[in-house]
Structures are given as C-alpha cells and as structure tokens.
C-alpha cells in the first residue's frame, strides 16, 4: 500500500512549505500563523508516527508495572471489588503485551519481503513455463491480486476514483 501516513505527511508538509506558504500575502498574518502551526503539527506526527506503536506498548508496560506495584503495596487494604477490577486490568494488560511482540513496522517489512520474493518467482518462471503452468501462475496471481486490490481500493475509497460502490474497508478487514 503506497498511500500510507509517511507519504501523505511528507508530501503535505513539503507542499504547504513550498507552494502554499510563499503564496500567502504579507497581510495574511492569521493564515500564515495557522499554516505554520499546521506544518509544525504535521512535522511532529511525521517524525513520531513510526514510533507510535512502540510508545504505546512501553506505556502499557509501565502502567502494568504500577498496577503490579500497587497490588503488592495495597494488598491487604483492597476491597473485593477493587481486587477483582485491578486483577482483571493487570491480566488484560499482560495479555495484550504478550500479543504485542510484533508491530506494524515488522509486519510491513515481512510483507515486503514476501511480495518481493513472489514477484521475482513470477518474473523468472513465467518465460520458461508451459502453457498450463503459465495459466496456473496467472490464476494464482490474479486470485491473490483481486482480493488484495479490493482492500487497497476500499482503503482509498474516499478519493472517489470508482464509479461503483465498494465494500467498506472495515467490513473487509474484519470479515
């Protein structure tokens, strides 16, 4: 997927800086000020977005540490309800941290490697393949592509490229 946050943010920042900012008249002080804020906000997001997942996981780890510490510290004074609630929250946090061993960057990297390998296999095998083998290769790639493209197209549906309606990306991702 090409139209990801990194591309959108960088191109937005550069365009606002290169094209929009210089075009504002000298009298447009409010617009200029707000534009500077917008560029600043986007820049912060652009710089930090790759770390967001890691930040959130670490935040949860720390919150769990505090929960564990308070559970030990206040053990004898906790009501039954407080104990149940705190235990459930700590257990949920531990479960989520256990699931969070990977992150978006790693998932993306693994996808890229696999796509590169499969694309290369298609490229190197097709030329020497028999007619039947080519047909089978073609079907495998088209089947995969049609499924993936439906999701890619649904992802950018707000850009309004399509003449017909597509399923929502939510329904496709959580079916």
């Amino acid at each position: 997927m090409q139209l990801q946050a990194d591309l959108a943010l960088k191109s937005a920042i550069d365009t606002l800086t290169r094209v929009v900012q210089p075009a504002l008249g000298a009298d447009e002080t409010i617009a200029a000020e707000q534009l500077e804020m917008v560029v600043g906000l986007l820049s912060v997001l652009h710089k930090r977005l790759p770390l967001l997942y890691r930040f959130q996981c670490e935040e949860l780890e720390r919150a769990l540490g505090l929960g564990d510490a308070l559970a030990a510290l206040l053990d004898e004074s906790l009501s039954a309800e407080e104990r149940t609630g705190l235990d459930a929250a700590r257990a949920k946090a531990a479960r989520e941290l256990g699931r969070a061993q990977t992150g978006p960057n790693r998932v993306q990297a693994a996808t890229r490697v696999l796509r590169a390998m499969t694309a290369e296999l298609v490229r190197t095998r097709y030329a020497a393949a028999s007619a039947a083998e080519r047909a089978a290769l073609r079907q495998a790639v088209l089947d995969y592509s049609d499924d993936q493209l439906l999701r890619d197209r649904a992802w950018v549906a707000a850009q309004d490229w399509e003449a017909t309606e597509l399923p929502s990306v939510e329904s496709l991702l959580f079916e």
């Binding site: 090409q2 694309a119 790639v141 088209l142 399509e162």
Partner: protein
C-alpha cells in the same frame, strides 16, 4: 518552523515571467509588455505559467498573444528531452492542430529550469457530449501522424525502427527501468503483466511515430464549434506500434474524474480511424497494447508518482501522493484485462 524538510521554494511568478520575457527576447523578438501572469494548476510533471505577451515577432506585425511557459520539475523519473519534443511538434504540425512552439530552453540557461514556451490554446477537455466532428478530426489527424515518413539518426525522435518486436521490447524495457528506478514495493500483478507482455509481443509490421500518451485529457475541444482545438503533450512521443495510441485513447477512466470516458467510444474511434485511412487494426494487437498501456499507467502512478512524491522538488508533491491511490482501480482494470487475455 518546519524543521523536517529542506525543500526548495518554487521559482516565483515574477521571476518566471521575467525569464519568459528574456527567452523570447533572446530569440530576436521585441517584447513590449508581459501581463496577466498566472499559474495553471492540474499538472504534476511540469510547472505552467500562463501570460499575455505584447510583442513584435521578427518579420511580423506587433500582436498580443496568450502563451504558456512550461518548466520542468526537478527530480522526476519521467523527465523528457525538450529537443526531441520540438522535433516531433515540427513534424506533426501539418497533421493536426498542436500548440505552436515559440521558444525552447533545453538546459535552463535563461529560464529558472529547462522549459518551453507555447501558445496558450483555447478549449476544453472533451466531455460525454463530444460531437462526431471532433472524433473524426482526431482520428484523421492521428492517421496522418502515423503515416509520417520516419528518418533521422539514432537518437532522433523520428528515427525509424525495423519491423518486428524491437519497438515493443524497447518500450517494455523503458517502463521496467522506470519501475526499478522507483524502487518501491513489489507488486506480483505487475510482474505477471510484464511477463505476459514479453511472452505475447506481437510483430509490428511498420513502426510509426506515436503521440505516446493519448487520452482524452490531452485533447482540447473548441467549445464554440465542437471541433478539435489541439492535441497536447507530445513529450512522451516515441516510435512504435500504432495500436499503442489507439489503445490509450479507447481505455476508459484515465482522467481524474470518476469513471469518465469523455465520449471517446473505442469502436466509434477505431472506425473513424480506419475510414480516415489509418493503418490496419488487428484486434489481437489492440488487446495486447491495452494491457501494455494500463500496465504502464499502473507503474506511473504506483511506483513513479510515489517516488517523486517522496523525493522530487515538485510543486505538486501532494498531487503526486494523491495520485498513487488511483493506481489501485487501474490495477483492477489490468487484472481484468489479463484474465480475459
């Protein structure tokens, strides 16, 4: 306040106007005034400044002429050579209406960047109500372009190529090189299409001069009488199979507007082309080049636009980033074409 980028600002409108004036003057013409300088939006590959020029051309009377300065965008993978474009425009001028060229600055010696100055041609992009007259004129003009004799040294825009698969091979290689240069994520569908295109290459009996980027968005209709005002953007012109141009024009939905076909019915256009004495049409070759045209457009949007949005000094980075989304419905179109092939 932006610490994140070190972007170069655009050349200013005033600087561009002054440079345009200087370039026209350098051709030996007398410039009295340049007014109404304004940016034209809508292009990601070039920067366009329209203006009115009050001037006295060499060997002609004083006049006021609407013109357009077109400047190259630095860092684009699809940068083309203006000298070749000038050659093509000179050659096709007798075939159909094209913008008149006034000046060329190949190296950016006078202009802030390499660029050209054209006449500003009035007209609108054809809509669904485009008339038969327009279709017939465009088809006849295209037939005449395809009939132009080719000559010139290797490297000339008009150099002939031998019959066979040389032209198609060169075209495939050019687009594969562009995709490799963009160095973006691999797409198995694009690899499959490339492999199919290599395996199914048709024999071209007679490579001809092609527009190379023919679609409704590059046509202008005179809104007063519905006739062909001009065929624009000859920078992608190359020598190859005439089916490439016909495939480009007959494929729907290349323009940004949702699913717009611009009234250029493929069956009608091919019939008009044949009636105008165009080269014979082979349905198998036409289907091949439909796949090739869509594949190339996918590469342009998915790979090239992405890379240029990330790294070029374009004025239109946001547009380039936006257009990467267009690659997905196009890839769906490519998948459908391959499934039927």
């Amino acid at each position: 306040m932006n610490p994140e980028t070190s972007v170069m600002p655009l050349p200013s409108r005033a600087d561009c106007a002054a440079a345009a004036r200087a370039l026209i003057t350098a051709q030996g013409h007398s410039v009295h005034d340049l007014t109404s300088a304004r940016w034209l939006a809508g292009s990601a590959s070039h920067l366009h400044l329209a203006f009115d020029l009050d001037w006295t051309p060499v060997d002609a009377a004083r006049r006021r002429t609407p013109m357009v300065l077109r400047l190259e965008t630095p860092g684009l993978l699809t940068a083309t050579q203006r000298a070749r474009e000038c050659q093509v425009l000179a050659a096709v001028r007798e075939c159909l209406p094209v913008p008149r060229l006034y000046a060329c600055d190949e190296a950016g010696a006078v202009l802030p960047r390499p660029g050209l100055i054209f006449a500003l041609v009035p007209g609108v992009v054809p809509g669904d109500d485009v008339g038969a007259g327009f279709v017939d004129e465009l088809a006849a003009g295209l037939a005449r372009v395809h009939a132009l004799p080719l000559q010139g040294d290797t490297g000339s825009a008009l150099a002939a190529l031998p019959p066979g698969t040389v032209a198609a091979s060169q075209l495939l290689e050019r687009w594969e090189q562009l995709r490799a240069a963009a160095d973006c994520e691999a797409v198995p569908l694009l690899e499959l299409a490339g492999a199919w295109l290599r395996a199914e290459m048709p024999h071209c009996r007679q490579p001809v001069l092609l527009h190379g980027d023919l679609h409704a968005g590059n046509c202008l209709v005179d809104s007063r009488d519905g006739h062909l005002s001009a065929l624009l953007d000859w920078e992608m012109s190359f020598v190859g199979d005439h089916h490439f141009d016909l495939a480009g024009l007959s494929l729907p939905g290349w323009s940004e507007a949702k699913g717009r076909t611009a009234g250029l019915d493929p069956v009608r256009f091919c019939a008009a082309y044949a009636a105008a004495g165009g080269l014979p049409l082979d349905p198998v070759a036409l289907r091949y080049y439909e796949v090739l045209v869509v594949w190339a457009r996918c590469i342009l949007l998915h790979a090239v636009s992405w890379r240029c949005a990330l790294q070029s000094d374009s004025h239109a980075q946001a547009r380039l980033a936006w257009m990467t989304g267009r690659s997905y419905p196009l890839m769906a179109q490519l998948s459908a074409l391959l499934a039927r092939a």
